[in-house]
Amino acid sequence: MAHAHESNTKRIWYVFGLLSLVTIVEVAFGIFKPASLHHTSILGTSPLNWIFIILTIVKAYYIMWAFMHLEGEKSGFRWSIVGPLVFLILYLCFIILVEGDYVYEVFKEGHLKWIF
């Protein structure tokens, strides 16, 4: 590490402020649940849920890049960690959630009563 001895305290507090702000925004959305975002649907779920997911990824980015200091690592190292994560998680979620939705349809359309 080339910059091993310099202090990053300012950046740390900046990122803390940012993570806190994002969390507060999430909680505010979670409590008030604006009807226009909560009761509509895009791409399979409500816009509110998409906001939550995007803000979560923003938080994850800052934790990994600033706190875990990925921004100081070589890009090859960075990719060897983030690449498999992004690819495998997206794939896993895609295949499992599609299957879950399919099972829901089967239960709903089927002749077997499963909850009564």
Partner: protein, 321 residues
């Protein structure tokens, strides 16, 4: 070109490895990668079950609405938000410890490590409180023959606890334990009321209605009085709180996933605290001062941030979405 021999005498100490990182740090990262995939598997499994039972899944805001010292007040989200802050803040003190390590400032590293450990314990305590509320439950419900959970509401849709209306009937049912009766069989503690007591109480209170598990327009469906009376005839169990078999919140898998995922995360926090304590004592003993590098603090720091990272996702998928 002759063969180049590079001597790495410090390699045994986790010295320079490929990609500009030491072996120790790299392996910590790849461990985190695999652990992250494990958690993704759990959360994806949670997503599967939720998609499968999308119409009957419990609404998180109605389950996790407790806050210390605010008994009976509906306070969704605040408590988990507080837990998130505790964990983010302990992440900050950890990264400050790593930063102080870069400056070879032993006292500061020890101080920030100490704060991180305290933060970890506070988080674990908060989680224990959350579990206690979840297991104890607040209102109670009944389960039907077909496995669906029926909850009780008053005319304005507010939840009503069993204790508020259940009649006390002259029936006595003693918990069956191993020491009284057949030695190899026992049962878990009995609910406070029997099904008959709940039924009688329900019939005697004409303004009570039954709320089903089904969600319509993001709200649980409430039955009419006639439908409620008819529905209640199917009740076979009184459910209070949550265990691994059934819970008063709704889908059985909901409690199982809650226990498993937050439990597994809590276990990670616990082991993180233990590792932090070990490293904290090493710092105090001057181990890293002698080694002229605080990289070990950085490595446990990575693990600690990872625990925080997982919580960010658990927070989103259990409490927000």
């Amino acid at each position: 070109m002759g063969a180049t021999v590079i001597s790495h005498e410090d390699a045994l100490d986790g010295g320079p490895g490929p990609l500009g990182a030491t072996y120790g740090k790299m392996m910590m990262w790849f461990f985190i990668l695999s652990d992250a995939l494990t958690f993704s598997g759990f959360l994806a499994a949670y997503g599967f079950s939720r998609f499968k039972f999308i119409e009957t899944w419990p609404i998180a805001d109605e389950v996790f609405n407790h806050f210390p010292f605010l008994h009976g007040v509906d306070a969704p989200m605040y408590y988990v938000a507080l837990m998130t802050f505790i964990l983010i803040f302990s992440s900050v003190t950890m990264v400050l410890a790593v930063d102080a390590g870069h400056q070879m400032n032993k006292a500061k590293v020890a101080f920030y490590m100490f704060l991180t450990i305290i933060g970890g314990f506070i988080f674990l305590g908060s989680q224990a409180w959350e579990w206690k509320n979840f297991i104890k439950g607040e209102f109670g419900a009944v389960e039907t023959r077909g496995g669906s959970i029926l909850q009780f509401v008053n005319a304005s849709g507010e939840r009503v606890a069993l204790a508020e209306f259940a009649k006390v009937l002259p029936e006595e049912r003693v918990q069956h334990t191993r020491d009284k009766g057949v030695w190899f069989s026992g049962e878990s503690s009995l609910p406070s009321y029997s099904v008959a007591e709940v039924m009688e109480g329900f019939k005697a209170n004409p303004n009570l209605l039954i709320r089903t598990e089904f969600i319509k327009d993001k709200q649980k469906v409430v039955l009419s009085r006639e439908e409620s009376l008819k529905r209640l005839e199917d009740a076979v169990y009184v459910v209070e709180g949550a265990n691994m078999y059934r819970n008063e919140y709704g889908s059985k898998l909901f409690a199982n996933f809650f226990f498993f995922i937050t439990g597994f995360h809590g276990f990670h926090v616990f082991s993180g605290v233990i590792i932090n304590i070990i490293i904290f004592f090493n710092v105090l003993l001057g181990t890293y001062e002698k080694r002229k590098s605080y990289e070990m603090v950085e490595k446990v720091g990575l693990y600690w941030h990872f625990v925080d990272l997982v919580w960010v996702f658990v927070f989103t998928f259990f409490y927000l979405v």
